[in-house]
């Protein structure tokens, strides 16, 4: 397989169940497209931030969001979630931790 078609080495491919959990978080916290405000967001893969980036919390992931609105000027965004909010291991609750849009204050 050519590298151009390969998944980036840092990317975590989300299962349907994991995407469902992320969607629940988006609905729960009313997260919409930062560009056009649409609620129709496709949930993509995840990028583990905790290891690579200096100021990220250890269990932090960025989930790719793509706005379905064809008129949206910036359809590709992301939302920061904690691993416990979408990964399979453990059943711990979000514990008050809110998903944050990439770019939202820490």
């Amino acid at each position: 397989m050519g590298a151009e078609r390969a998944v980036r080495p840092e990317i975590t491919v989300l299962s349907a169940e994991q995407k469902h959990r992320v969607a629940k978080q988006l609905r729960r916290y009313g997260i919409t497209c930062t560009s056009c405000g649409s609620e129709d967001l496709d949930i993509g893969d995840g990028l583990y931030l905790g290891f690579l980036f200096l100021r990220e919390e250890q269990d932090s992931y960025l989930i790719a969001l793509t706005c379905d609105n064809p008129d949206c000027l910036a359809p590709r965004t992301g939302v920061r979630v904690h691993e416990s909010q979408f990964l399979d291991k453990g059943q711990e609750s979000a514990g008050g931790r809110c998903p944050r849009r990439a770019g939202a204050p820490q």
Binding site: A3, R8, P9, L52, E56, L62, G78, A102
Partner: protein
């Protein structure tokens, strides 16, 4: 037979040699401090070092870079000390040029005047004599000198070893650590057992030199400080009191040079960078610049782990691009070109056939690894955008904000590096978007980084977002040709 006395040239080169060799030792320690770990394999896998001169431990759950591993040594042992690798490198390369020139003068005159008889043995019988001399020294007595010669047998053998083996050995193992030499002559690095083996051997040579100097000083003191310094200052045994006094004056002068070099490097690093850089630059451009990579390491030799120097851009914009596989990333290429262009990652892949090179990566700090890099040859990009006649350099601007992303780095601001247009056209200069057959990892510069295989790693800008063709770089940053040159006082051209 030539009288084995102490002619003026021998006395002068002796004291000049003391100056250069002590500068080399201290600046060498500064270079060690920046990565105080030694390996036998070129992969430099963390934890496989056979020696370490640091107590630092690195985190396992957070990306660290090799700037985090750097040590700050005292100015007493290193020149200038306090994590100033740029200054240490300038002094090391300047001193090695001075040392080699001094050595050349010494060797030419040694053989031209017949003084080589003092060092080169005539008979195998010198070895048992030297053994007896050693036993005599160990019983705290002085052995007899060889007939008609200024040295005893073990001294003669030791000087022959230092002059004809150890000094060239240090030059050759130092040369084996030049990325340009390694790139053009990979067999030469293998001759020494690899790049890290050459680094180890260079360290062993340094330790032997330090040992030699210590024993030499003990010998001079044992045989008579006044007598031997009279020979090395006046050329004959007279005025021993003055000889002792003058020897300390000369040593004080050498210490003063070290002190001045240290203070100047710590307080006026830009001045030192410009002055010493100008001296070394000519030698680099003449000897090393033309060397183009002929490396082709096997896939079996690829390093499973590749250290990093510099941390990824810690910005939301970058992270959002990364999680979408850099679909929104754009590379702007402009400046002094006929055809300014903007490329997506797919554009770069489609622009021309991918070039792949398996090469040794040389970090300025001394660690190495072997990687396979694939991407667009920079010379193809140059042909595509067509530089205007006044374009002489290429500036690579990145998404890294060092103040934000890399607290271990001294300085702040957008990371950039400048290379000469002639270097951009060399066949090994690559805009890499793949590493080891996979998309270029984030920690190694995704989505695009530079590879210049005859230079050290910091020139190979990562996380590139813009390429600008320019006629000069004096008005970019501090005007030294790159972020590291501006802030850490490295040379712009780093073929060694």
């Amino acid at each position: 037979m030539t009288q084995l006395d102490f002619p003026a040239w021998l006395r002068v080169t002796h004291w000049v040699n003391v100056l250069f060799i002590t500068l080399l030792i201290r600046s060498g320690m500064e270079i060690v401090a920046t990565h105080p770990k030694f390996y036998w394999r070129d992969q430099c896998k963390p934890g496989t070092e056979w020696a370490r001169f640091t107590r630092k431990t690195m985190p396992k759950d957070k990306l660290y870079d090799t700037l985090d591993e750097e040590e700050s040594y005292s100015s007493i042992i290193s020149l200038p000390g306090h994590k100033k690798l740029g200054m240490g490198r300038h002094w090391h390369f300047f001193s090695v040029l001075g040392w080699i020139l001094t050595g050349l003068v010494y060797f030419i005159l040694l053989f031209a005047t017949g003084q080589w008889h003092r060092y080169i043995p005539y008979s195998w019988s010198i070895f048992p004599t030297a053994w007896n001399d050693l036993l005599t020294y160990l019983s705290f007595n002085l052995p007899p000198l060889l007939p008609g010669q200024p040295l005893d047998a073990i001294q003669k053998l030791t000087y022959a070893f230092v002059l004809f083996f150890l000094a060239p050995f240090q030059i050759l193992t130092g040369t084996a650590q030049s990325p340009a030499i390694e790139a053009r002559f990979p067999w030469y690095v293998r001759l020494w057992g690899g790049r890290q083996s050459a680094r180890n051997l260079h360290l062993f040579g340094l330790l032997i030199f330090i040992g030699f100097i210590a024993v030499h000083l003990v010998m001079v003191a044992s045989w008579g400080w006044g007598q031997l310094n009279a020979l090395m200052i006046f050329g004959e045994v007279r005025d021993r009191g003055w000889a002792i006094a003058l020897s300390f004056v000369i040593i004080a002068a050498i210490v003063a040079v070290h002190w001045a070099a240290t203070v100047l490097s710590l307080k006026r690093p830009r001045t030192v960078q410009r002055a010493l850089g100008a001296v070394v630059m000519g030698a680099r451009k003449l000897l090393l610049r033309p060397l183009v990579s002929r490396q082709d390491y096997s896939t079996a030799e690829l390093s499973p782990e590749h250290r990093v120097n510099g941390k990824p851009p810690d910005s939301d914009g970058y992270k959002v691009m990364a999680v979408h596989n850099f679909a929104d990333w754009r590379l702007e290429v402009g400046g002094l070109v006929e055809h300014p262009m903007t490329f997506t990652l797919e554009d770069l892949r489609a622009l021309c056939a991918k070039q792949t090179q398996r090469v040794l990566h040389n970090c300025v700090q001394g660690w190495t690894s072997i990687g396979e890099w694939s991407g667009l040859p920079m010379r193809d990009m140059v042909e595509f955008v067509k530089p205007l006649p006044q374009a002489r350099y290429v500036c690579f601007l990145t998404m890294q904000d060092t103040g934000r992303d890399d607290p271990s780095a001294e300085g702040e601001g957008q990371f950039y590096e400048v290379i000469d247009l002639t270097v951009a056209r060399q066949s090994h200069t690559l805009l890499a978007y793949e590493m080891n057959g996979e998309p270029l990892p984030i920690k190694h510069g995704a989505p695009l980084r530079l590879r210049v295989e005859n230079q050290v790693g910091f020139k190979m800008a990562k996380w590139i977002e813009r390429i600008e063709f320019i006629s000069g770089y004096s008005d970019i940053g501090a005007g030294m040709g790159g972020w590291r040159e501006d802030n850490v006082f490295y040379d712009k051209n780093v073929e060694i």
